[in-house]
């Protein structure tokens, strides 16, 4: 497996895992009450931090396991990477637009922050999934 595919799998796993953990913490914090009352900010910051540290640790482990492939990137890897970035960007655009609408509607900070966090999470998941498909099945001929 190419190192860039391993990187995509690691990103996919850590992003999905930490976001699910965040949702569980927030739902538990709400304790059946309104979600907007849940202390979401510390959970959000912690899960983002854990995601970054876990990703870095797993990438380092992958590099040590196969040092000859570590962070090798050729023209195909770059093309696949661009496809992932391109598709993932859409969720950030939609999330930013959603957050804008929520702000103009004077929604609670909870919903605005969570719309943005969800957008970044979806961007990472879509980008990683696109890269994995690109490595496994190839990119479509445009």
């Amino acid at each position: 497996m190419a190192f860039q595919e391993k990187r995509a799998w690691i990103m996919l796993g850590t992003t999905a895992g930490t976001y699910l953990a965040y949702l569980a913490i927030v739902l538990a914090g709400a304790a059946g009450g309104p979600l907007t009352a849940a202390p979401y900010a510390p959970a959000l910051l912690w899960t983002v931090g854990v995601s970054i540290i876990t990703t870095a640790a797993l990438l380092t482990a992958a590099a040590f396991a196969a040092p000859e492939d570590a962070d090798v990137r050729d023209v195909r890897d770059r093309e696949i990477g661009r496809s992932g970035t391109h598709l993932g960007r859409w969720s950030v655009v939609l999330g930013a637009a959603g957050a804008l609408v929520l702000a103009m509607a004077e929604a609670d900070h909870f919903w605005i922050a969570n719309a943005i966090y969800l957008a970044f999470t979806l961007s990472s998941l879509i980008g990683s999934a696109t890269r994995i498909v690109g490595h496994r099945r190839g990119r479509p001929a445009w």
Binding site: D74, V75, R76, D77, R137, G138, A141
Partner: protein
Amino acid sequence: MKPTRVTNSIRALRAAHGPMTQADLAQRLGVTRQTVIAIEQGRYSPSLEVAFQIARVFGVPLDDVFQYPRGEGEPS
């Protein structure tokens, strides 16, 4: 599903040259072995520059490495 209609003879050319391994070819092209595998299996169309480099490694014209099927109604 193969994302390209381009076919190639890289596997046969490798066998005729040594045989040359996928890793050897990848090293000479400056790409990863996974990229050579993807090209051989028709999962990836290389850039024109890489295509010419492959032909040069085997010392053959581009047409001997890559083929594109003729469509219906196209002049022969």
